[in-house]
């Protein structure tokens, strides 16, 4: 132990007392915050239940009715619906007319209807991601503080990006559906517009985190702005840009499915029709196809992103060494 004189002793005690006081205060605040959150949560739940048409506890016994209705007449029906094979239950109604939807390619070779529609949806997502990413790429440099020193332009571009991503795709799609009528074109436009807004923001944040040493080097060479951005910044941010673009593609696949349900074409439209008409085999076939596709897209994009980021980590190590 260190020998303390009276003054030091007093200061130590004083610090100890102050510390205890602060600790007590912090605990009191924590308890108050937790109580507040509990009150808010139960009030919200009560309000939601009150404003709902049926009461939660009254309706809960019907929870599994939907799934009971979804059960097909036999398990093979799902596969028949998925691959457009003739059904033994075919009675001329829409419910079992699977082969009608076949899309013939060459001779007897055909693409099942839902696969075709799934491709339509994926196509919406791909085209929208390409256009959205390209425009977001351009806007991001105008919005980044370290590239664009003009405050007014930055402000305008940033607010513009905010507006683009403020409206959900489905609202924008609703507007374009009126103008361009049903089909994938309005869906592509809606998804692309939202993508520009969202990607533009993510990209300009990446640009702002870029190391400016390379840029300074090129400035000292006498390079103009475009060259400086292209050679000094783009090589650095590209792996992150690609990673975000792939992530956005995953999101856009889901978005185009939903837009399909409001008339934007593709698999979403088929799903909505199948559910509302009570075609259980068709519904299950579409859900299965959707599930498989989305998992596949996510896995693929995660794989590519991992490789990109891994490579970047390697390059960074090299720069530090």
């Amino acid at each position: 132990m260190v020998e303390l004189d009276a003054g030091a002793m007093l200061r130590t005690q004083e610090t100890e007392r102050h510390y205890r006081q602060l600790l007590g205060q912090r605990r009191l605040y924590s308890v108050l915050i937790i109580i507040g959150l509990l009150v808010a949560a139960s009030a919200s739940l009560w309000f939601a239940n009150e404003t709902n048409a049926g009461k939660f506890f009254d309706r809960i016994p019907y929870f599994f009715d939907f799934f009971k209705d979804l059960a097909p007449r036999d398990g093979w029906e799902i596969w028949r619906a998925l691959f457009d094979l003739p059904s033994p239950y075919d009675d001329g109604s829409l419910q079992y007319n699977y082969p009608v939807g076949r899309v013939y390619l060459i001779g007897p070779v055909y693409l099942p209807e839902y696969f075709y529609k799934m491709i339509e949806t994926l196509n919406i997502a791909i085209v929208a991601t390409m256009f959205g990413t390209a425009l977001g790429f351009v806007f991001s440099f105008f919005a980044a503080t370290n590239v664009n020193s003009n405050r007014a332009v930055r402000f305008v571009v940033r607010r513009f990006l905010e507006i683009l991503r403020a409206f959900p795709e489905i609202v924008v799609a609703g507007f374009f559906l009126v103008v361009f009528s049903l089909g994938p074109i309005p869906a592509i436009m809606a998804v692309a517009i939202h993508t520009v807004g969202a990607i533009g923001k993510l990209y300009f944040e990446v640009v702002e985190n870029a190391d400016m040493k390379a840029d300074e080097g090129l400035r000292a060479v006498g390079a103009n702005k475009v060259s400086r951005v292209w050679f000094g910044i783009v090589p650095q941010v590209m792996p992150n840009f690609m990673s975000y673009a792939l992530l956005r593609f995953e999101i856009n696949v889901r978005a185009s499915t939903i837009i399909g349900a409001v008339g934007g074409g593709g698999i979403g439209e088929q799903l909505r029709l199948a559910i509302s008409r009570g075609h259980e085999a068709k519904t299950l076939a579409i859900v299965l196809l959707l599930f498989t596709t989305i998992v596949a897209v996510d896995q693929l994009s995660a794989y590519i992103r991992k490789r990109l980021v891994g490579e970047q980590a390697f390059a960074l190590q090299g720069a530090l060494a």
């Binding site: 390379a214 400035r219 060479v221 060259s227 050679f231 090299g318």
Partner: protein, 294 residues
């Protein structure tokens, strides 16, 4: 002739460079020495116009460097190449492309962006790498090179600008003694062979004495010494660095070039540099003590 007249730079209320006047004739090799924060970097950056001066004029021949803008400024920056402590290369691009980027101001932006460099440009880039003995790294990513190699790539890029002046801002401060010597030798060769003006900031006295015809000492933003290496006595050095700083100026072996164990021939990976560094440190310290005694 590069001439600075009453050049001052303020950052807020802080004066980084105060009322500096200096004339540098073409073809001279000048070393600027001083403590950290003496304003060496700011002075150099103002000459290249990475920083604008608050007051005073900088002129090169009949070019009014301190007031030009836009394309004229970029032309001046092309003529006045800069080498940085941290190399400032594009780490993710290969060495050859990095060197070719020195040509950016000589050609159309569209062609550059499409990556269309001419055969002559590529040939002279490889020649520049050859001069600095790093041709074999040409296709590696610049970021994977050692510090000494990166600095030589930066010099090659500077040469591709076909400059009239080369400014070097602490070019050897991040390098081990052997690489520091290679880099300083290259700068001296450029100065003597090609007749380029070289202005370099240096942390250490011995390097400045060994390589420069003329030494400028800075303290708190002002030029306090300007003369030949022989005029720089220990008393003046003590004034520039302060009594404690003088020791530091000698013993910072990381930036010293005076005592490499082996002559500079080929670049090598840094595995063997550790003992060299510490030995150099020992000797430098002894030398400093000896100097202080005398």
């Amino acid at each position: 002739m590069l001439s600075l007249t009453n050049v001052t730079r303020r950052f807020g209320t802080n004066v980084a460079v105060e009322n500096c006047t200096i004339e540098i004739p073409a073809g001279q090799m000048v070393g600027i020495i001083g403590k950290s924060g003496a304003g060496k970097s700011t002075l150099l950056r103002m000459i290249n116009r990475l920083i604008d001066p608050s007051e005073g004029t900088i002129a090169y021949g009949d070019i009014e460097v301190s007031t030009i803008k836009g394309a004229a400024l970029r032309l001046w920056q092309r003529d006045c190449a800069m080498i940085f402590q941290q190399f400032n290369l594009v780490p993710r691009l290969d060495v050859l492309t990095n060197v070719l980027l020195g040509r950016l101001n000589h050609r159309s932006t569209a062609l550059s962006i499409l990556g269309l460099f001419t055969q002559e440009e590529r040939a002279s880039a490889i020649l520049a790498l050859e001069q600095l003995d790093i041709t074999k790294t040409a296709l590696q990513k610049a970021g994977t090179l050692s510090g000494g190699q990166q600095q030589r790539v930066a010099i090659a890029r500077a040469l591709m600008q076909r400059p009239k002046v080369i400014l070097a801002d602490e070019p050897i401060a991040s390098l081990d003694p052997r690489n520091a010597q290679i880099v300083m030798d290259s700068l001296r060769a450029i100065n003597q062979r090609d007749g380029l003006t070289v202005v370099t900031n240096l942390h250490t006295l011995d390097t400045a004495r060994t390589y420069c015809q003329r030494i400028v000492g800075m303290q708190n933003g002002r030029i306090v010494f300007d003369g030949s290496p022989d005029d720089l006595t220990t008393d003046i050095a003590r004034e520039i660095y302060g009594a404690e700083g003088l020791k530091e100026a000698f013993s910072e072996t990381m930036t010293s070039t005076s005592l490499p164990a082996a002559p500079a021939t080929a670049p090598d990976k840094s595995a063997s540099n550790e003992p060299v560094k510490s030995r150099a440190g020992e000797v430098a310290k002894r030398m400093t003590d000896a100097q202080l005694v005398t």
